[in-house]
Symmetry: C2
Subunit: 305 residues, 2 copies
């Protein structure tokens, strides 16, 4: 998994490449029938993406075995499955989010979106098929079935109507509305935060985290999930489309409430500092073992795309 | 669960009503945020539907404990979860299937489809949120975690790109094409058959079916799944929209290959007789305990809507 001595940037690159290899292996081959669907699924998932969610799974796994602890080979494989599962759910949500009936976006990660590259029906079905593949991967983890069941429940809740899909629904319904900071936080806590939190908790479950460790991971993940969205909103205003890899300024054009429209750029940056502090405080009980998780938080806060 | 002495019609009605009650309880309340999404999820699932898949789960559960065997209270609860899970997956697939980018259908079960009653974005998200709810319900079954993991894998495969979603993709791609009977069977085996088969297998898993029993259940389910589609194709030609509750004659209008377009009405009816016989033969090893399953097969073959 790479020890603490490895610097963060090379660790993150190595984990992202590893996640890519794992996803490549778990996705149905492009030549397998139905070919067009499988090609769309692979297009939606592979070759792009920062793999932040996968990194959170791995970092939480490392944090949960404690300082000096070592993950078993089975736990490493299970972390691969969990990391792939959260990336698949994330990828499916982007495919559906980009469809004409939702955000109607033509560009994602610097490439044509799935419905532009293929067609709307294929994009919808690719998303529909990525979701059960995530649950299949969890079911195939080589760890205690009781842990698999816990992981399944965590992922299902995070993806569902009280998590990601629900946040998306609130987001759709809030176009043109003036939301309070609390409403905006609830929406993003569901839309983006729930799956980031699930990534962290899944890493903990797979690595056999104790109950206090899981609680610490959840608090950390809540702060990081919100920070992620605040950064997204800032970048939507301050970045070029070419750097961002998706259409910049789209939220403002769509009249969507964002942290920047609510708090301004300075206020949003101040909120980030507070959230970064919350994430750090949450991890204190885990000591040195949580080093990578804190570095991931810093990466999320400091990213420029 | 109702004994073998209860006649089939009243058993089916009772099971369908029971499944409705169970679904009503498992679905998020309509007043819970995000309300519109939850209302759409409930609209998509409740108040209609023949609950054939739920009936298959229950009948397979009865068949798997053997003659004179009794399901434990925990197994009965687990069967409720499994029955609800397959109905949720089925309901989500109908919602997405009816969307403008797919079949673009305005009528389903005699009512406006979800995107007509609500809107396209809400319909898509309702489908997206019903899917993880199904996996959450499996994770919450009060049975051995190892059985839950098996059930999760079965449902995930049946819903995925080599099952229902894949069959849907082939169906979309085959409009206007002349498929062979084999190609048509493969497509429907994935699109409709996979989930019917999963319903039967889930009932077996929950009730602790032995390996030979599971094999028998799978053969039975394969025949029944195909029979179901053949009947659908016959009804599309022979029924009125008012009886069918969905737009009759739509497949022909859409230039979709069907068993009737391939084999004619008589040929399709002959195929049904063969499939009914296959289902019966598959169940022979299970003896009396499989009585309900055979009755469900007869119901599927004989239904008029």
């Amino acid at each position: 998994m790479g020890g603490q001595q490895q610097n963060f940037s090379s660790w993150l690159t190595e984990r992202a490449q590893h996640a890519e290899t794992v996803l490549e292996r778990f996705l149905p081959e492009a030549g397998l029938q139905p070919e067009r669907l499988h090609q769309a699924m692979r297009y939606a998932v592979l070759g792009a993406g920062k793999r932040v969610r996968a990194a959170l799974v791995y970092a939480a796994g490392e944090a949960s075995v404690g300082s000096g602890g070592v993950l078993s080979p089975a736990q490493c494989i299970a972390l691969d499955h969990a990391a792939a599962a959260v990336e698949l759910i994330h990828a499916y949500s982007l495919v559906h989010d980009d469809l004409p009936c939702m955000d109607d976006d033509a560009l994602r990660r610097g490439r044509p979106t799935v419905h532009v590259q293929f067609d709307e029906a294929t994009a919808m079905l690719a998303g529909d098929a990525l979701q059960p593949l995530a649950f299949e991967l969890l079911a195939q983890m080589p760890i205690a079935p009781a842990l698999i069941v816990q992981a399944t429940e965590v992922l299902a809740r995070a993806a569902g109507s009280l998590g990601m899909a629900g946040g998306q629904a609130i987001d759709c319904a809030s176009v043109g509305l003036a939301l309070s900071q609390e409403q905006l936080q609830i929406m993003h806590g569901m839309k983006t935060g729930a799956m980031l939190q699930a990534s962290v908790v899944l890493g903990g479950i797979v690595a056999g985290a104790s109950s206090p460790t899981r609680t610490a991971l959840e608090s950390y993940a809540e702060a990081v999930g919100l920070a992620f969205q605040v950064v997204d909103d800032i970048l939507d205003v301050t970045s070029d489309t070419s750097v961002l890899g998706k259409t910049a300024g789209k939220d403002a054009a769509d009249n969507k409430p964002t942290f920047v429209s609510l708090l301004g750029l300075e206020g949003s940056r101040e909120l980030l500092v507070v959230l970064r502090q919350e994430a750090q405080t949450a991890l204190l009980p885990l000591g040195q073992a949580a080093g990578r998780l804190l570095e991931v938080a810093d990466f999320i806060v400091g990213r420029d795309r």
